[in-house]
């Protein structure tokens, strides 16, 4: 059952005197219970906007986000509706997402009291329980955020969110401000929590090498659109979209062989003036005439050779799909 499902989501940024920026231009994704969906892409691809729209911090200009089967609303000045409290977010920078002047215990207690809308004391046993859940000593409750390292702060931010007993958590670049060993620790914590609590996790990152170790399903985003979705290992071992191929090829391996990663020519275009047709075509080594004219939709693929040719509207879950004319023509089902 999908806990969080995003359907044909568009987010536009309009600013006076400037062309509208389509930060997210028609994305459909869904995250199941007990699943980590890793959403990867480079800066400017719209992944953070998508994260913010998913929890209601940004209003979509079209499309829907459904949580537990009911549509989400944008966070307004008023109180967040109770049925949305199970959808939470962890931010990139754990230095900014914890209040420097409040003790850690009190901030986690905010999470514990979220569902019941009651004021919970910092010495509540449930506070200690979530601290243990994220691998921190219960004595942490009495300390201030600055007394912790970056990795520990990210654990605290995760603990506060878990205290609200969420069923879905969106994490926006939770690892990028951390050291290598803290990254691996937080990544494995996420896997552990997903299994233990059956969480649906949307993990957003620019770092494919970390995400591929924890995500069950991978979605690759380029310039506001998802270009490929599928089980992580399948995508990693056999990427179908030329952008995914470039992205994987560009990750340098610590194999000691001295091989330079493959460089992708060009730069990500200005999202205010996206290229026609497939947004990747100007940088694509395999582009054909059709690519610059018609925008390909995500289409479920089958192992090459079979040609069935029907596309589906909302490719969701673990189905292997890509948005590329080269693949759609030969592999679509």
């Amino acid at each position: 059952m999908s806990v969080l499902s995003i359907a044909d989501l568009h987010v536009d940024y309009r600013r006076r005197g400037r062309p509208t920026v389509q930060a997210v231009a028609g994305v459909s994704l869904s995250v199941e219970k007990g699943q980590i969906l890793g959403l990867v892409g480079e800066s400017g691809c719209g992944k953070s906007t998508l994260a913010r729209a998913a929890v209601g911090l940004v209003a979509p200009s079209a499309g829907t986000v459904e949580f537990d089967g009911s549509p989400t609303t944008r966070l307004s000045r008023g109180t967040r509706p109770a049925h949305l409290l199970g959808l939470q977010m962890v931010f990139q920078n754990p230095y900014a997402s914890l209040n420097p002047r409040r003790r850690v215990g009190a901030q986690i207690a905010d999470g514990v009291g979220a569902r019941s809308r009651t004021k919970v004391r910092a010495d509540d046993p449930r506070v200690a329980a979530v601290l243990e859940l994220v691998g921190l000593p219960t004595s942490a409750a009495g300390r201030y955020p600055h007394e912790f390292s970056g990795g520990q702060r990210q654990r605290l931010a995760i603990a506060r969110v878990l205290a609200a007993e969420p069923s879905a958590v969106v994490l926006d670049e939770p690892l990028s401000s951390l050291d290598a060993s803290a990254q691996a620790q937080i990544a494995s914590l996420l896997v552990e929590l997903k299994d233990k609590l059956s969480l649906a996790i949307l993990l957003i990152s620019h770092d494919l090498s970390v995400v591929r170790q924890v995500a069950d399903v991978l979605a690759v985003m380029y310039l506001g659109r998802v270009v490929e979705v599928g089980p992580t290992e399948q995508i990693w071992s056999d990427p179908r979209h030329p952008y995914t191929q470039a992205l994987i090829g560009a990750v340098p391996q610590p194999d000691g062989l001295g091989t330079l990663p493959t460089a992708l020519p060009g730069e990500v275009p200005d999202p205010a003036r996206p290229p026609s047709g497939c947004r990747f075509h100007p940088r694509c080594p395999e582009a054909i005439a059709r690519c610059s004219v018609e925008q390909p939709d995500l289409t479920v693929l089958v192992p090459s050779g079979r040609k069935l040719g029907t596309s589906i509207d909302t490719p969701i879950g673990t189905a292997r799909s890509a948005a590329c004319w080269l693949r759609i023509d030969t592999e679509a089902r």
Partner: protein, 326 residues
């Protein structure tokens, strides 16, 4: 054997702290040969950046530096200030993680490059301009003459880093110290900058001290690698020695954290701050092979094979293999 371009011996750096001086670099030895890419690996706070800042005498006030550092015959740590400035401008250049560290936001790229060329090389405006365009072409900036008129903010992060590299290259330095040069870049952009650094080394014979926490980047470029932990070098050797046959459990764990096979096995704990380093081998509290003597004895770098140095009492990773080998 030729004299190394840079040789550092017993380098120790202390910075003032709230409770007295703390040792951030603790007796470090290494050499960089002309034209090689020397990789300096380690997490933040391991002393890798401080090592190079101290060589260029760019440390904050109150810092003390001991040891020896010879750069093509000159002693960097004792050279007069004027001499050092000349070395810094012309012979050793720096590239930082954030290219805006070395680019002025309000001056055109052309102005910055030509000013730099004219100050250090004393060439006239016209030839400085021509050389500036050449440099931009060298780092593969499209339309170099147009780029000269543009300002840093008009470029993407990757392009800015290329321009910062062009500035570094301007005086044809013999050594470029590149501190996390690709860390802020997207992978596909990073790949391009890595190609660029590799080409510069091949075409111009410029040596690069590549400081990075990313062992993937290290593996792509470095000829030799030194791994820093808590202010010391714990392992050094050729790229293949260190990355394919790591001897130190710390190196092994760092590679393991990135490895694409097998389950995630994170290293527990975090690197100690400069003021709270444990005695003995500083890594022992996090090391799964640690024994009593790891906590007791300081470890020094000793060769385990020609050119491969290791500071580990137990040496748990290479010993079994040695036992098999005759």
């Amino acid at each position: 054997m030729a004299e190394p371009l840079l040789s550092v011996e017993g380098l120790t750096v202390r910075l003032p702290g709230p409770n007295g001086p703390v040792t951030v670099v603790d007796g470090v030895d290494f050499t960089v040969d002309a034209g090689e890419i020397f990789g300096v690996a380690g997490e933040s706070g391991s002393g890798k950046t401080m090592t190079f800042l101290s060589l260029l005498r760019l440390l904050p006030a109150g810092a003390t530096v001991h040891g020896e550092a010879r750069f093509s015959g000159q002693n960097l740590l004792t050279a007069p200030a004027g001499e050092l400035r000349r070395i810094r401008g012309r012979q050793i250049a720096m590239v930082f993680q954030d290219p805006m560290t070395s680019l002025h936001p309000m001056l055109s790229i052309g102005r910055q490059l030509t000013d730099h060329l004219r100050t250090h090389l004393g060439v006239n405006r016209r030839s400085a301009r021509a050389r500036a365009a050449e440099l931009l072409d060298e780092v593969r900036i499209p339309d170099p003459s147009g780029a000269l008129r543009a300002y840093p903010h008009q470029f993407s992060g990757g392009m800015r880093q290329r321009i910062a590299i062009a500035v570094a290259l301007a005086c044809r330095p013999r050594l470029i110290v590149a501190d996390e040069p690709t860390t802020a870049l997207d992978v596909t952009v990073q790949a391009g900058v890595l190609h660029l650094l590799d080409r510069l080394r091949r075409d111009h014979g410029v040596a690069v001290a590549l400081i990075t926490h990313d062992l993937g980047v290290m593996s792509a470029l470095a000829d030799r690698v030194s791994v820093f932990y808590a202010g010391r070098i714990v392992e050094s050797g050729t790229r293949a020695d260190v990355l394919r046959d790591p001897g130190h459990p710390y190196t092994d764990a760092l590679i393991g954290a990135l490895s694409h096979t097998g389950a995630l096995r994170p290293l527990p704990g975090s690197a100690p701050g400069a003021a709270e380093r444990p005695g003995g081998c500083a890594f022992h509290p996090r090391c799964r092979y640690a024994t009593e003597r790891c906590a007791a004895d300081d470890q020094t770098l000793v060769p385990i094979s020609p050119g491969h140095l290791l500071a580990c009492a137990e040496n748990p990773l290479t010993r079994p293999r040695k036992a098999v080998a005759p």
